[in-house]
Symmetry: C2
Subunit: 480 residues, 2 copies
Amino acid sequence: MAGNDRFVNQIADINGDYTKWYTDVCLKAELCDYGPVKGTMIFRPYGYAIWELIQAEADKLFKAHGVSNAYFPMLIPQSFLMREAEHVEGFAPEVATVTHVGDAELSEKLVLRPTSETIIGSMYSKWISSYRDLPLKLNQWANVVRWEKTTRPFLRTSEFLWQEGHTAFATPEEASADAFEMMGVYKQIANEVLCLPVLCGQKSEKEKFAGAVATYGMEAMMKDGKSLQSGTTHYLGDNFARAFDVKFLDKDGTHKYAYQASWGISTRLIGAIIMAHGDERGLCLPPRVAPVQAVVIPIGAAKNPAAGERAAALKAELAACGMRVTLDERDCSPGFKFNHWELRGVPVRVEIGARDIDAGVMTVCRRDTGEKFTMPLEDAGTRISALLTEIANNMFKKASDFTAAHIVRADNLADMEKALDGGNFCDSYWCGDRECEDKIKQLYSASSRVMHEDQSDVSKHKCVCCGKKAKRRIYFARAY
Amino acid sequence: MAGNDRFVNQIADINGDYTKWYTDVCLKAELCDYGPVKGTMIFRPYGYAIWELIQAEADKLFKAHGVSNAYFPMLIPQSFLMREAEHVEGFAPEVATVTHVGDAELSEKLVLRPTSETIIGSMYSKWISSYRDLPLKLNQWANVVRWEKTTRPFLRTSEFLWQEGHTAFATPEEASADAFEMMGVYKQIANEVLCLPVLCGQKSEKEKFAGAVATYGMEAMMKDGKSLQSGTTHYLGDNFARAFDVKFLDKDGTHKYAYQASWGISTRLIGAIIMAHGDERGLCLPPRVAPVQAVVIPIGAAKNPAAGERAAALKAELAACGMRVTLDERDCSPGFKFNHWELRGVPVRVEIGARDIDAGVMTVCRRDTGEKFTMPLEDAGTRISALLTEIANNMFKKASDFTAAHIVRADNLADMEKALDGGNFCDSYWCGDRECEDKIKQLYSASSRVMHEDQSDVSKHKCVCCGKKAKRRIYFARAY
């Protein structure tokens, strides 16, 4: 963050040009920048710090679920991709290939991992030989490469950062349960850490992961009513075990294929935070992933040194309470500083001026509501800490209310079009046929997102598209 | 770590076949495995956990030095490498190149970063425009690819994990000081975290980084008397600033090139730990980076449940004191368990049997010395915690004594040969000419490592190789 006045915080109107607003926030809040190669991006310190905080929270939860971290090579023999028919079909077009080292051509072409089921499968076949080697639950934090035609910072870039969990079990039930349970962990991260309400459920055949038996998705509603897929878990059955010969000797003395699951969340979550919580003033960060949770700004410190001293003491007090806090002593106007930190989404701003000190108070401004009020300086740590919790709760409630208000029941195509154009998700019934998904995609650029959690009485309803007997209740939405 | 008896801990004799001993420790302690592509490796959970602990310690120190983390793309336009003449010459032969995505050929060839001076330089030219943007101190934790002909786990693999710090300053003095200071940080990590004595100093022209003005190296002595380069820092002058047009408007109103430094440590440090501290029983881990600092083993728990209960209580007590501790309740013999944890280098083993409980003691075994003794169970947390500190101090002292005992003054080639063959570093004087370095390399497969910290009275001495007047006091050694 440059310590100077040159920077002007003008961002596009969120209600006017949402796309430009998003790009403006990404660049002007210094979350990221474009890389020299088309479709690549740089995580600048402020954006990367958000990712580090997400990582720390997620890593703790994974480890509590008995998962260990490991690291597998990024370069995968091209032939590995070919072994699982659906997998290669799904990923081949977007895979980057290494053919040369220096001037020498490689004897076997290598691909940059788009995901690591194949290389991890090849190692699991070596490590797993007995039922005693199961379950095996590994995760890696890594970069992956998927070459995309249309790219946007955080949402879709040719390289991104993520974690990928890969688990193996003796039975299909355990592997399937793992995919389901890890979706629960992702939901917990979304709700509690990112203040993000999400819809979780199984994906359709069309939308599932290439090579999976079943994919579960976590969908978050952005402020334009579009959906952002924010995490997926996959039950892989024995598809990769068969492709890579992952077999074990079971207790009953017979050799069996292992059953696997995989699951991932990525730096896309930063895009979700930006678009679900941001507003006309810029970013609005959930307190648990805010690199700066509170900024303390002395007012009139040039004329009144006491304001600067009291602000510094307050900063130290908040830091001692474990908060991530910054003191902004720069030589520029309060208004400039307010804009600077609002654009960057800092949850709490504290101003300390002569009048505050005389009254024994601090002036506090909440980023989530914009409310400005005074609080006693006494026990400031406890007060601000409680305020951060309140802000988190309010952010989750606001986003939940927004999401609930923008889910519309649509029982026919006319209603669906209206709902989608109004910036809503459609809560619909569906016959289960791919043709209807394709038609909806073609007509309205919307896709099925996840199954509704309530699948009771589905057969009493008709498909939103073809009118045949429904087999599923499912959400349709436009999506990133 | 598989919970069964199949595993036999046999490793090669460290005093017989050191190379095989190293590989055995890597594989049998489950630190790593070979990847499917030649020259690649997998970090298994136990090895990766060591890296995570090194990362956490280093990251804290970097941040305390005002460095922020960021992340830059892995794919660099091939043309970027060409812009700095020495840089491309040094790295081109070992660079992997991406030419295709799916079936389509890329319009510009991309290389997998061997290091990121070029791509970061290109971004610095965009971000730095005024003296107020300086200093800029960024670091990234990343994977890099350097294709090597001869590879060994942790020491030399085609992909490895590291951190690379890239800093920019207004003056050469500041940039040069940064390279020097960060070497001090690396030394602190080596000494305090890894219990590793190191020799730090400037490298010769021949051994410096491709594109640097000056390189500083940190060299650690392995138990075979060979040196392992364990970290480097580079003063880059304005070489990359000129190549990438990193200019700023200074206070005096003129445009100037920025001066840069870069610095890195890698997963090679795990190799250093293995080879500097390991012994005939396997790995011996410095307590601060040991994934398991203490293992508690109940003795005779099958007959005497009290031993199991007391062991579990002790495990909980040590964990509550912040130690990383494991309870080994597996159904296998104590001897098997002792081997298992000794091979894995766990600093402290605690045994609890009926006799221990009756006497109110625990039986403690130190991995560093092999000593076995009893300690009161009372205040076990404080006692084991203090023991871990003592173990760390002793490991550093032992390695320091070993290093000191194997640095031999060599004033002529005959002495040098004898010293090197005896598994020593040579403390020698040198004329400064590349020819002498080349000759020593050719004759004895040894290279200059770093300058000696004491360069006084150098001119009174003669070059170890050619006998001409010396210009430098420098270490020569065989190296990994």
